[in-house]
């Protein structure tokens, strides 16, 4: 079994002969994507999570084509059909699978549109935060000295306060609005990426390939962007996936508290907040189903993130 000693001990499961054989006799030059997918699908729960993420993303992107009704076209709403329980029939024969809200809006359509806003804000804010935080982290690690200690002091200071508090204060100053929520979420998140990428870059910087690149007299810019950056990305991808989930949950919380998105652009959090008053009188569905949608989105993103962490970080492999 000389081949078996070459593979990572974490991948060998006693009694799992197929597994060992597959790993041991896999061709040496296996493309990274194939290897990644083989390791990723070892957790069926994570694959399920990934499937859910893909489905809800598609639903959010194509919302206008798949929803039974445009929930914000007032001409399509009938206030007479307000607060109907799930599975009721509308007057023109449509079924309200998840019931209607107080204005006669189909909850299923409202949820898919809400998902669109929630996912959009979550993904967008994470993307911008990765760009800003990543650049600053990389800058800090590569140049060191004063720049580094300044950036990292700010990161430490910000991370000593809980995200929700920072976001609340920012929104108290800025006011309500999708753009303002986006700004608040970016400011809340950038520090995580700055810290993550700096930590990774400090490790990578000392490796031989960077030294080799320096010996070839490549420019600073080329070394940072073509050599250092790609090798710092895996942990950022992991933190990013989980952070999209956190950003969605935080946005929902802020909107639920009434300081997030405006009523013209209801995300899942605002839908839950709108239905909250009716919940106490027993009309649970107006608040309950948007909540379920939120939980499904957040949990499935977390599952994918957890598995990504296990696959991309060899030190954490069990």
């Amino acid at each position: 079994m000389s081949e078996a000693t070459e593979i990572h001990p974490g991948e060998v499961h006693i009694g799992d002969v197929d597994e060992v054989a597959e790993t041991a006799y896999a061709p040496k030059a296996e493309p990274p994507v194939t290897r990644f997918w083989r390791e990723f699908r070892q957790s069926p729960v994570a694959v399920l999570g990934l499937a859910v993420v893909v489905v809800i993303t598609l639903a959010a992107v194509f919302a206008p084509f798949i929803t039974p009704q445009n929930p914000y076209d007032l001409a399509q709403l009938s206030i007479l059909e307000g607060r109907l329980p799930p599975m009721s029939q509308s007057m023109d024969g449509m079924t309200y699978w998840l019931g209607t809200d107080d204005q006669g809006r189909d909850m299923l359509s409202a949820i898919i549109y809400g998902l669109r806003i929630s996912l959009g804000i979550g993904a967008m804010s994470t993307f911008i935060a990765v760009l800003i935080g990543g650049s600053l982290g990389l800058l800090a690690a590569y140049y060191g000295g004063r720049i580094e200690s300044l950036i990292m002091r700010v990161v430490d200071l910000q991370l000593s306060f809980p995200a929700i508090l920072v976001a609340l204060i920012l929104l108290a100053v800025l006011g309500r609005g999708v753009d303002k929520v986006l700004i608040a979420l970016v400011i809340v998140q950038w520090a995580y990426y700055a810290r993550t990428i700096r930590g990774q870059a400090l490790v990578e910087r000392r490796k031989e390939y960077i030294e080799a690149a320096r010996c070839l007299a490549l420019s600073d810019r080329r070394i940072v962007f073509r050599h250092l950056l790609p090798n710092c990305l895996p942990p950022v991808i992991v933190v990013g996936t989980v952070q999209v989930a956190n950003a969605i949950a935080l946005e929902a919380t802020l909107s639920f508290l009434g300081v997030g998105v405006p009523i013209t652009e209801p995300s899942l959090g605002l839908l839950i907040s709108n239905g909250y008053g009716y919940m106490l009188s027993g009309d649970y569905w107006i608040s309950f189903f948007p909540g379920i949608a939120l939980v499904i989105a957040v949990v499935s993103l977390n599952l994918v993130g957890d598995q990504l962490r296990d696959v991309l970080n060899p030190r954490l492999q069990r």
Partner: protein, 325 residues
């Protein structure tokens, strides 16, 4: 030890100064301070009077010292809505929030530590795996949604507990406390569980990791080899070392509990500081927002300071490395 305390204290003071400057910039330089400090429906004459009273016609650096001076004297402006000093208003709500936070911490520790130790001792068995799977839910589900589900289950469907409010209170050292009356306790239970859920998940993880680490230590092996009863090994020899990280993180989390109480207090209409903050943001009652911000910053810095002190007392290695560096 004294050197360490002085070093940490001076670091904290720097952070306080930085935060005060940031708040000043946010309120006075970026926003229009007149909008922040005077009610939006004031007449131009009233605005002019307020500008002079607040010294807004003075240069910015002078204003900064006035702002700091007022703050040091505990003057953080007057609420437009309640027409009371903002600081007093917040301090009135403080006991309710503290009570909630304390109960949540108690629940998190009493439930989390035993579950975490069990999960650590049986990390490969079904019990350990079930506990860990449960803790994932505590982490990933949004706090306000957990609160809504608690209300739906226990207040609406089962009708066992009230859905919101603080209930009857009884005085303790001049402070009104819900803890002492049956009605107050029933009102306290759901919000406290809501705040505690996330912390419990955290404590379970910490205690589990601690247990697994400590189990491998030589002194535990020795205690076992000596033939001590497993209960004694766990409760006396292991627990002390498991508790070090738990105490630190829980101390740091006390600040987080106060921040996250904003959410729980709004869901359960609990009349604490957090609900006051949300009401003030919605009503544009900015002096209260500013006062809340400064107070929370102070509390956070104080907590960080105390936790570091407690930690260095528990684990002298921290103190030694810090004072050398």
């Amino acid at each position: 030890m004294l050197v360490y305390v002085i070093r940490r204290l001076s670091q904290s003071l720097v952070v306080v100064a930085v935060m005060a400057a940031l708040v000043f910039v946010g309120v006075y330089a970026i926003g229009n301070p007149i909008d922040m400090m005077v009610s939006p429906d004031a007449t131009p004459a009233e605005m002019q009077a307020a500008m002079e009273r607040l010294g807004l016609d003075e240069p910015l650096w002078k204003q900064f010292f006035v702002f700091i001076g007022n703050m040091l004297q505990g003057d953080m402006g007057t609420s437009f809505v309640h027409n009371e000093p903002a600081l007093e208003l917040i301090l009135q709500r403080l006991p309710a929030t503290m009570e909630l936070a304390a109960c949540a911490m108690l629940i998190a520790t009493l439930v989390g530590v035993p579950l975490g130790v069990i999960a650590g001792l049986r990390s490969e068995g079904p019990t350990g795996k079930t506990i860990m799977a449960g803790s994932i839910f505590g982490f990933s589900l949004p706090n306000f949604w957990q609160g809504l589900m608690l209300i739906m289950l226990f207040a609406v469907i089962l009708g066992w507990l009230p859905a919101g409010g603080r209930g009857e209170t009884a005085p303790l050292f001049g402070v009104q406390i819900s803890f002492l009356t049956v009605d107050g306790l029933t009102h306290l239970l759901l919000p406290a569980i809501n705040v505690a859920l996330y912390k419990t998940a955290l404590v379970i993880r910490l205690a589990r990791a601690g247990t697994r680490e400590v189990m491998m230590m030589d002194y535990v092996k020795f205690a076992r080899a000596k033939g001590l009863h497993p209960r004694r090994v766990i409760l006396v020899h292991m627990l002390k070392n498991i508790l070090i990280p738990v105490v630190t993180v829980l101390g740091l989390e006390l600040g987080n509990v106060i921040a996250f109480a904003v959410v729980t207090e709004t869901v359960f209409a609990w009349p604490g500081m957090g609900k006051l903050l949300i009401d003030s943001i919605v009503n544009l009652d900015r002096p209260v927002v500013v006062a809340y911000l400064m107070l929370t910053v102070l509390v956070f810095i104080l907590i960080n300071f105390l936790v570091d002190l407690a930690y260095s007392a528990l684990d002298p290695r921290v103190r030694l490395t810090e004072s050398k560096g």
